[in-house]
Amino acid sequence: MGEYLLEVQDLKTYFKVKAGRVRAVDGVSFAIRPGERLAVLFEDQDLLDLPESAMRKIRGGKIGMIFQDPMTCLNPTMTVGKQIGEALRIHLKLSKDEAQKRAIALLEQVGIPAAAERVNSFPHQFSGGMRQRVMIAIALACNPKLLIADEPTTALDVTVQAQILELINGVASDFGTAVMLITHDLGVVAGMTDRVVVMYAGKVIETAPTDELFENPRHPYTLGLLASVPRLDEERHSQLKTIEGAPPDLLQPPPGCPFMPRCAFARAICRTMPPLDPVAGNSAHLKACWVDVTDPKEQAYADKRRQARLDAMQAAIAKSAEAALQTLEEK
């Protein structure tokens, strides 16, 4: 491994359900360097199963995890001190007293006032933001090398979100911990990370350094996602750009590029999945797309297709409405 702290190669996670197999993660590769902050941009939050096998020693010890909802992820019947101490006692073999002491120190570090008293409180006695702080304390307890934060602020309010992001950033640089941030919020990605992996329907479709990705997105999905979010710092537009359609059903993913059904740039070749190849002139920027979206000819083609598709959709709706009315009249 050498250079990398974590390297994931061709990871597949399929879930067996009654109706077949849900291909939640479908051949994903990426790597994280020590101290790096990586974002995994992911639209369907629930699907990401994390790249760790049954290595209990690593889990909690070398890799800490922050979950989305602090309300459901903390044990309501245990004091927060015990929950923080649990990992310490298992991984570092600390005694009860030592674990308690370290738990208090950790709570102070994550900014909980009167930590020595709050350590014996139960999760329901904390507010949402405070619970998320407790979870961060648990994740950091054993000085992990990697912190995985799965939508750490989605359940929180904006002002509290700012506090928590600041805290994660702060502790990560203090401890030299690498951070893997899983989110759908482009704003959070922009402020927090060094590199981004964009996923769609279980596949990595683009990866690049954060600045490069926002400045020069090369995959039609990334392009569409960036254009569809209303931004505070921009002129207001009367209409938002949209990505038509919905993400595919992962039980029966379409063959070829999973974004093809929604993509205006799509063409015949997209029926085979494109490889994740470096963009010309930048080896750190990879994309899985056959089309060069910066080509003006391609853009003109895409605009035309987008318009044609909208027209076709409206026509289809109108036609179907007519047919439905006709049958009504016949009745």
Binding site: D157, V160, A162, L186, V229, D233, I317
Partner: protein, 339 residues
Amino acid sequence: MVDTLVASKTLVDVRDLKMYFPLTRGIVLQRVVGYVRAVDGVSFSIERGQTLGLVGESGSGKTTIGRTIVRLYKPTSGNIFFDGKDLATLHGEELRELRQRVQIVFQDPFASLNPRYTIGSLISEPMHIYKVASNAEIRERTVELLSVVGLRPEYIDRYPHEFSGGQRQRIAVARALSINPEFVIADEPVSALDVSIRAQVLNLLQRLQQQFNLTYLFVSHDLSVVRHVADRIAVMYLGKIVELSDRDELYAAPKHPYTRALLSAIPIPDPKIEKRRQRIILSGDLPSPIHIPSGCRFHTRCPMAQDICREVEPAFEAKEGREHYAACHFSERVTSPIE
């Protein structure tokens, strides 16, 4: 009452609305031990065809306002004038009639649509309740509504679980529009949806507003979404409106430190801006609406708080421009968020 000149333009006029929920103790003999002051004296008005954005953190009371206006709750005190009639005190048949003109779209389309009804019957249910037309006409109108919100009318006999989140929210919108309301309350209509779907639903809501000359109360916690849809914006904190102003002015020159902090807390999807931005990070969480702080209710988290803020509650008054209201003793010191 509202004088006639104003009444022609103003559709909704909320005056000093209060909604307290009692806290009780004991099982058989319940004693009231306190109140959750969810909405604590709120006044605003909305002109016909306009959109008022209502912004605030969870627990600020914004959803309660929406639900009180459609009278899912009976307000503790205050008035809700809708086209001159007071919704807060109406009951029986009069309320039923007025409700026909006020509809609500809820946040979570997975919870708000009955899974045992086909979408056709969901959309036509309000029309059957108000007996607006014959059954055949209602069916016809349902078909039309489906195409208006961008769904294929041949789906009319399917069930909600067969649709994605965005499509379900379209169904909820069609249901709300079925009896031709004038005023629609949209309670976080896009918060439960995927990012790539949100833009579709927002565009739909805007198109419908123009098409049917609707008036919206758009409740959301997301200031960037509200900026996109609203003409005027009210910012709520702990049951009170702390600032109310035209959209552009609110973003360019906020007059309340809470608005300022909210604006600075929103991440902007651009790493260059994000990395050199100065954030105002508020300390702590929203105080409990059972024990509201004395004086200005924001003083416990306010970076500019002085002694006067702890004792005297600031008046909600016009600042500078006529139409810009804020409740802060030091509003002239609040700086612009986007430098």
